[in-house]
């Protein structure tokens, strides 16, 4: 088979189309990850890297409690952010799918993307202004005479991180849930009502189970990026609100210990992968019922 016929064959055409993004992904995703994997088995020897294979970094990760605490806090923060985001996003998606007339839906979707018009960083700073010691909430509450001195538990701690992240990721959660709700045949809901269920029980017996794939997608979309988020805990977390990503950054850039940073990153990645796989398996179970 000559080259010409290869280019014309289906497989050849697919290969031609896929090659550029594949090379791009290889260079910018696979190779760096491979480098991180390698680094995690090396050690830092003052200014040079000792490239002998060792598990010392992993041993240190599990020996010193600080890493476990940070990873645990990261998982908890992501978990809460995911829960809050999905709980807030579901009613919005539901309203959008069931109560907004179809000719207005695209307008609403457009409006939901408005937060993306400003950069993530600016939105984080915005929350600083709202939650700060002399911020909108505190000066408002003090001015109204409800509190005597500004609340301190809303900035520079885990709470602030959770509030900021939940806001930032809300649109990401709304969209997959909306799509799943849109796909539900409305006659199924009518059938449930016809068979004796109320609006509420219909929601739990029909609507919610059928929107599960969207819900699981929303959970993954929020959970995976928030666990590695670095900017928000850095700016909003204060001393007690630092997460695993901040530790990785510290290892790489401040302590100049890239191998340790790489090892922490690897452990975090394995955790995320494991949790994501659980949700993918859940989704499979829900998706099996679709024809």
């Amino acid at each position: 088979m000559g080259l010409g016929s290869f280019a014309k064959s289906e497989g050849g055409r697919a290969a031609t189309l896929l090659a550029p993004p594949f090379l791009y992904a290889l260079a910018l995703l696979a190779l760096p990850i491979l480098a991180v994997v390698l680094f995690s088995f090396w050690t830092q020897d003052f200014m040079t890297i000792d490239t002998r294979f060792t598990l010392a970094n992993y041993r240190e990760f599990f020996d010193k409690p600080i890493y476990g605490v940070l990873l645990g806090r990261s998982l908890m923060v992501s978990g809460i952010v995911t829960l809050v985001t999905v709980l807030l996003a579901y009613p919005v998606a539901y309203f959008l799918s069931f109560h907004v007339p179809s000719h207005r839906k695209s307008l609403w979707l457009f409006l939901i993307t408005i937060p993306f018009w400003t950069s993530y960083l600016i939105r984080v700073f915005l929350w600083k202004v709202i939650l700060g010691y002399n911020g909108v909430i505190n000066s408002g509450l003090v001015g109204a005479g409800i509190i005597d001195e500004p609340l301190s538990f809303i900035l520079y701690n885990v709470n602030a991180v959770i509030i900021t992240l939940a806001h930032a990721f809300a649109p990401f959660a709304i969209l997959p849930i909306f799509v799943a709700l849109e796909k539900i045949d409305r006659s199924l809901i009518e059938a449930s009502r016809d068979l004796g269920e109320t609006r509420l029980t219909t929601f739990f017996r029909v609507t919610l189970p059928l929107s599960m794939p969207g819900l699981v997608a929303a959970v993954l979309i929020v959970f995976i990026p928030t666990i590695g988020d670095y900017v928000t805990p850095e700016l909003m977390g204060g001393a007690g609100g630092k997460l695993i990503a901040n530790m990785i950054q510290t290892q790489f850039l401040q302590l100049n210990n890239a191998p340790m940073g790489a090892a922490i990153a690897m452990v975090a990645m394995v955790c995320v992968t494991a949790i994501a796989l659980v949700f993918v398996a859940l989704n499979r179970r829900w998706l099996r019922g679709r024809g």
Partner: protein, 358 residues
């Protein structure tokens, strides 16, 4: 028989669109009733107002003596088989059939037995554990039927239940639905646009056009004595001839056919003003060599031949009639199929004529 469902002056507006225009209707207990009409005539809307899935704009619906105003679908003694079947894709067949039994006080094993019985009734015994999405269209339909019948509703509403099935399956299901209805004795209300389906299955049929009932009658009356040209055209085929009534209304002069006594004609009430006469194609006959007309005869020329296998449809031109008459003939043994242009003697019978307004 008493009226199980009474509709009085039921109106439905969707914004500017007037979907139902003053529907008055009584449906009897145990009856197989059909709402027949072209798409957009309001038949499905009417069914949905009975089910409680649609509010009426004005008028009243009573079921079993109870006013249904403000009664939601889940509190009505009706159950519906949806056009799309609406079988829950995330549940098994048994879970689907048992969906409405949640509040049933019976124990688990008794409910399971009821589900099995319902599945057996629709010919799906042993299918309980299958997942609903793995079923064929016909099987989904049976699941939807079992799911509704297990609740023993006073009225079963069927929204075009057979339209998605192929012809063979549809004919089989028609007979099966009739059998089921006789077996359970529940009032069935069927919505269909298929006149043949309505004729085969129903005790009575309401023919609807543009949100109004055009005629309500049993299948035979509807076919033999349609009230209007529109009903006649919707149910079967019919030739229409202009006619002129004599001054004393005892005779009618029919274009091309001549005078007949009005008393011989079928009609569904007094008719004023302009009149037409309708003739079904199967009540006309082409006379072959040696045959004589039992009553009346007229000369014509074949202008079109459509061969259907068991039947042949001829268009026959007759002097004095501007449109050719359609005649259907059984293709009996030894009977030739005529060619276009052949001379044909037509036999007709005044007792098969229908007097219509317009």
């Amino acid at each position: 028989m008493t009226a199980l469902i009474e509709l009085k002056g039921v109106e439905k507006h969707y914004g500017d669109y007037h979907a139902l225009r003053g529907i008055d209707l009584e449906i009897r207990a145990g009856e197989f009733f059909s709402l027949l009409g072209p798409s957009g005539c309001g038949k499905t809307t009417l069914l949905r107002t009975i089910a409680g899935l649609e509010e009426v704009s004005s008028g009243s619906i009573r079921i079993d003596g109870r006013d249904m105003k403000g009664v939601a679908a889940n509190h009505r003694p009706t159950n519906m088989v949806f056009q799309s079947y609406a079988v829950f894709p995330h549940l098994t067949v048994a879970e689907n059939v048992g969906f409405g039994l949640r509040r049933d006080p019976r124990g688990k094993s008794e409910k399971a037995r009821a589900v099995e019985e319902a599945l057996d009734m629709v010919g799906l015994a042993g299918y309980g554990k299958r997942r609903a999405h793995a079923l064929s269209g016909g099987q989904r339909q049976r699941v939807a039927l079992a799911r509704a019948l297990i609740l023993k509703p006073k009225v079963l509403l069927l929204d075009e239940p057979l339209s998605a099935l192929d012809r063979l399956m549809r004919e089989q299901m028609q007979l099966e639905l009739i059998r089921l209805q006789r077996q359970v004795g529940i009032t069935f209300i069927l919505v269909t646009h298929d006149q043949e389906e309505a004729l085969v299955m129903s005790d009575r049929i309401a023919v609807m056009f543009e949100g109004e009932i055009g005629q309500l009658a049993d299948p035979e009356t509807l076919y033999r004595r349609p009230a209007t040209k529109r009903v006649a055209q919707f149910i079967g085929k019919m030739n229409f001839l202009p006619g002129a009534l004599s001054a004393d209304r005892r005779e009618i002069d029919i274009a091309g056919l001549g005078r007949v006594a009005t008393a011989d004609l079928a009609t569904s009430g007094e008719i004023d003003g302009a009149v037409s006469v309708g003739i079904r194609p199967e009540t006309l006959a082409i006379l072959f060599e040696g045959e004589t007309a039992p009553r009346r005869e007229v000369q014509g020329v074949v202008s079109e031949v459509v061969y259907y296998g068991d039947m042949t449809y001829y268009d026959v031109r007759v002097d004095g009639i501007d449109r050719p008459l359609t005649v259907s003939m059984k293709n009996l043994i030894g009977r030739p199929v005529l060619d276009v242009g052949a001379a044909a003697r037509l036999a007709w019978d005044e007792r098969a004529l229908v007097l219509l307004p317009g």
